[in-house]
Amino acid sequence: MKKISIVCRCEDITEDDVIKAIDEGYTDMEELRKKLRIGMGPCQGRVCIQLVAKILEKKTGKKVSSIPLPTSRPPEIPVSLGTLASDEK
């Protein structure tokens, strides 16, 4: 059986998916995110972004510290629309 490494658990993205996308020319973290939906699931990138940055470093030579992280978006953790719509404090 082929060994598969899952990078993004929310969207089922594997290491091979990321490598393939980088090979196709998506070498920007934001482009990878928009191409593969990494960081767009319920965890909002907590699991995958660092791993993708590592793969990017390995493939392109860009240092992890020099790769800009995708902007983090509120509400940061999933919050139900019912809660947000409620005026209760």
């Binding site: 699931g41 629309l81 947000l84």
Partner: protein, 382 residues
């Protein structure tokens, strides 16, 4: 970097990349210069909708022709752009909106569009989760061939196809200056080098105004910040986009299952501030739950800010600037640049290569703002 090109396009969003594709296909030597990454502006923040229901004939024509191109685009570009036609349902809240809706529908039908005015009782047959009492509507208009596509994937697919046809695309490259000589374009100078050309296309979204000011052309564009949110992914719940001009809300479910939607916040002002607000989160949640109460159980995952490049009549500025030869505008889309991009860039490519000037290009030229009779697009949402 190339030293020379027939055409230099400034902006790697949907319009810049689709124009590059259309030109490259016609064997034009074309270069795209993008200061950030592809789709880093309005395209990357957009709501993904494709609508043909407009109040002005130019927008209706551009979008109807664009849908015909979208229908075949995945095949043409050899990439899946996730195009699907679930329709647009536009709420009609009162008699005044009904009169405007009847006018719009008559004009749209005269162009061959299939679009209907629905009684309030018919709304749930199209979208069962809507609460027509909560929405406070007397009816709706519905066009079944309106729909969605994935804006990033469409942007990337156009860029991919443009490159295959010979276009060069430089990201993270900023335009510093545009040189002119006797009212003609001479070259574009970037932070990575200079490109000689006699044709520049300004497709820089909200930065188009700054680009034009480099050559002393004033564009009447104001940047409006808009917020938009995405929920977690769900099983398919509904296919159509829901729009209300009165409440300003729009929302729909994407192919991956998330619901995406936006609404203006009451104290909205123009400007470049990009920080999302708590006011939006609350206002959006309250309104969407009023429209579709079942959604109160659904989690919002994130919300973000994008910009509309708004013109005085909410219609795009297209074509060559009359006082500067070779300076072509492709901006001012006022929040609907994605959905009309296939036809807009087809027309512009035919102008650049073959000199074709259809009346639509005349009607949307920058010069229209000199006149007193400005025709406003009324069907703007978000």
């Amino acid at each position: 970097m190339k030293k020379k090109a027939d055409v230099v396009i400034i902006g790697g969003g949907i319009n810049g990349c689709s124009l590059a594709y259309n030109l490259a296909k016609k064997k034009v030597d074309v270069v795209v210069v993008e200061k950030n990454y592809l789709s880093s502006g309005a395209t990357g923040a957009c709501g993904a909708g494709i609508r043909q229901q407009w109040s002005t004939i130019e927008n209706a024509k551009l979008s109807i022709e664009s849908v015909k191109i979208f229908e075949k685009l995945s095949k043409e570009l050899d990439q899946d752009i996730e195009f699907r036609q679930g329709g647009y349902l536009i709420a009609v809240h009162d008699e005044k909106e009904l009169i405007q809706a009847e006018k719009n529908v008559a004009m749209q039908r005269s162009l061959g569009l299939k679009v209907d005015i629905l009684d309030v009782g018919k709304i749930n047959s199209i979208i069962p989760i809507l609460d027509v009492k909560g929405m406070n509507v007397i009816g709706a208009t519905f066009c079944p061939t309106d729909g969605h596509a994935n804006p990033f994937k469409t942007n990337f697919a156009y860029a991919y196809a443009a490159r295959i046809n010979g276009a060069e695309i430089y990201t993270h490259t900023k335009v510093k200056r545009i040189k002119t000589n006797e009212n003609k374009i001479k070259s574009v100078e970037t932070d990575k080098g200079s490109i000689k050309t006699d044709c520049v296309v300004n497709a820089a979204g909200i930065d188009s105004k700054d680009i034009a000011s480099m050559v002393n052309v004033n564009l009447p564009i104001i940047a409006y910040r808009k917020e938009i949110m995405a929920t977690e992914c769900l099983e398919p719940l509904f296919e159509a986009m829901v729009v209300s001009f009165k409440d300003g809300i729009y929302f729909s479910q994407q192919r991956e299952g998330q619901i995406i939607g936006g609404i203006p916040i009451p104290e909205e002002i123009s400007g470049y501030k990009t920080i999302p607000t708590f006011t939006f989160m609350q206002h959006m949640a309250k309104t969407i739950v009023r429209y579709a109460p079942i959604l109160k159980h659904v989690n919002m995952l994130r919300h973000w800010t994008g910009f509309y490049d708004v013109t005085p009549d909410a219609r795009p500025i297209l074509g060559e600037v009359k006082k500067l030869k070779g300076f072509i505008q492709c901006n001012g889309f006022s929040g609907h640049g994605f959905m009309i991009s296939p036809m807009v860039t087809k027309i512009l490519s035919e102008y650049i290569v073959d000199g074709k000037t259809p009346s639509i290009l005349e009607n949307l030229n920058l010069d229209r703002f000199k006149g007193k009779n400005i025709v406003h697009e009324r069907s703007v949402v978000g």
